[in-house]
């Protein structure tokens, strides 16, 4: 410990890669984890978080800078153009700002600054950029609705965005974009699209710690561990046009949304629970899951414990469109399951998996991972790993 050790960050990626989203510069799918060699990233300093969208990646550095790569055809990379870019490239903002939070949707991106401002770019066809129009933008544009307000987080889905705002009168969630399946939560009736932020109903007096969006789903987690979901129903259940609380007997610390499933992490015992997923996030096939204790959320979809973890506590969860990944606490091992056609499970093949399977990054015995986090895009997966290494032993 201490001065003799320094931290080195590694990024590994696998899965669908034809738009350059893996950062491998090869524009092809990868079935095994690939260690990236990205000079532009290493020179930008440590990465504090990643966000993965339909086919692009946003990296936020510890000094508030942002780099993006992958599909850029709608301007979602924020590079001022509409082309794919397989190499990480800095996003230039119109004003100097320290970015604190980022999110990647299907073809759009959202950035929050330490001053509480929100910037968006990319596809705006459904109003998901929040600028009052349906245009695309290829550089980040400040969402003027939130000027003089303090935004903490943004979450971008397929065609919508939600924003967490902290104010004197409590927390509020705002939403914009497509609301067809209730994912905006702004009205009890059907909403097509809104291009200016509107407040999500039913979350008054709820203190919110985090928000999530993917596909046509939205979710918010309260400080006391309650989970609210709205939008497309899980497992063919009805769409929810306002936030609905998942059974209050359970307390959650993390939520990750796919296109047809959600992963939840329980407080305390660190259990991974899955909601929905009758397609490729395959765990909740009722025929195969009869031995697992089933809970039910108030919308009728089943909540099931993720099997085959042998009582291991889960540290972190992530969900792609139709696949899932998690990291177990004590050993820092990555496991993945669900749809595998593009190699997004990182198991060296294109098979689907019903249960979490161990993903092996090539091991270096002299190094020990101090931090590890997994992120899923629609059809790909990225791992950010920090290694402690003793300088004296480096050859």
């Amino acid at each position: 410990m201490g001065e003799d050790e320094e931290e080195k960050q590694e990024i590994w990626s696998w899965g669908a890669g034809t738009d350059g989203q893996l950062g491998t510069c090869k524009l092809q799918d990868e079935h095994f984890p690939q260690l990236l060699h990205l000079p532009s990233l290493s020179s930008a300093g440590p990465i504090s978080m990643l966000a993965c969208g339909g086919a692009h990646v946003i990296a936020l550095t510890s000094v508030g800078k942002v780099l993006t790569w992958g599909r850029g055809t709608s301007g979602q990379l924020g590079h001022g153009d509409t082309v794919n870019n397989p190499h990480p490239k800095p996003v230039v903002f119109s004003e100097s700002c320290f970015v604190t939070h980022v999110s990647a949707g299907w073809n759009h991106s959202g950035f929050v600054s330490d001053g509480g401002s929100v910037f968006t770019c990319g596809d705006g066809s459904f109003g998901q950029l929040g600028h009052g129009d349906f245009k695309f933008h290829c550089s980040p544009v400040k969402v003027s609705y939130f000027i003089n307000k303090h935004v903490e987080q943004i979450a971008c889905g397929m065609r919508h965005s939600i924003v967490l705002l902290k104010g004197h009168s409590g927390d509020q969630v705002y939403a914009f974009g497509s609301g067809k399946r209730g994912q905006l939560g702004i009205s009890k009736g059907r909403v097509n699209s809104v291009c200016l932020p509107e407040v999500t109903c039913g979350l008054e007096d709820v203190e919110i710690v985090s928000i999530a969006a993917n596909g046509d789903h939205s979710a918010a987690l309260s400080t006391d561990g309650r989970l609210y979901t709205w939008g497309k129903g899980f497992n063919g259940t009805t769409n929810a046009f306002c936030p609905v609380c998942v059974p209050e007997s359970l307390c959650f610390t993390e939520v990750a949304l796919g296109w047809n499933h959600a992963l939840l992490l329980t407080a305390g015992d660190g259990e991974a629970i899955m909601l929905g997923g009758n397609n490729h996030g395959v765990l909740s096939n009722p025929d195969k899951m009869s031995s697992v204790k089933q809970l039910q959320d108030s919308r009728g979809a089943n909540l099931e414990r993720v099997p085959a973890l042998e009582g291991k506590k889960v540290l972190h969860i992530a969900a792609g469109a139709e696949h899932s990944a998690l990291i177990t606490a004590e050993d820092g091992v990555i496991r993945s399951w669900g749809w595998g056609e593009h190699g997004q499970l990182g198991l060296g093949n294109t098979c689907d998996q019903m249960r979490p399977e161990v993903v092996i990054l090539s091991q270096d015995v002299h190094k020990e991972a101090t931090k590890i986090k997994v992120y899923c895009g629609s059809g790909f997966t990225i791992v950010l790993r920090s290694l402690a290494q003793t300088s004296a032993f480096e050859c």
Binding site: A16, G54, S125, F126, W259, E341, H342, S378, G379, F380
Partner: protein, 85 residues
């Protein structure tokens, strides 16, 4: 098995591909052309993977003569709401 059922009004017209598209979970796009729709085809495929969706549409909206087509405003706009008589 069809991945999803998607109404034509929820698909986007892609000028470059000359096809109606909808996001595929692999990252690519499900695609179906106007010609396919005229022929009554209801499967939109993804060129990158094995998945496909079933497109829900009214065949009459695509089978008419050219002048009728323009009258009915079939040049798709993303915010278009399709009214079915």
């Amino acid at each position: 098995m069809s991945y999803d059922d998607v109404e034509i009004e929820d698909m986007e017209w892609n000028e470059e591909l000359q096809a109606y598209t909808y996001p595929c979970p692999c990252g690519d796009l499900f695609q179906i052309t106007k010609d396919d729709l005229k022929l009554g085809e209801e499967i939109a495929r993804c060129p990158s993977c094995s998945l496909y969706i079933t497109v829900i549409y009214n065949m009459e909206d695509f089978s008419g003569e050219p002048d009728r087509k323009t009258n009915k405003g079939l040049e798709p706009s993303k915010q278009q709401t399709v009214t079915v008589a």
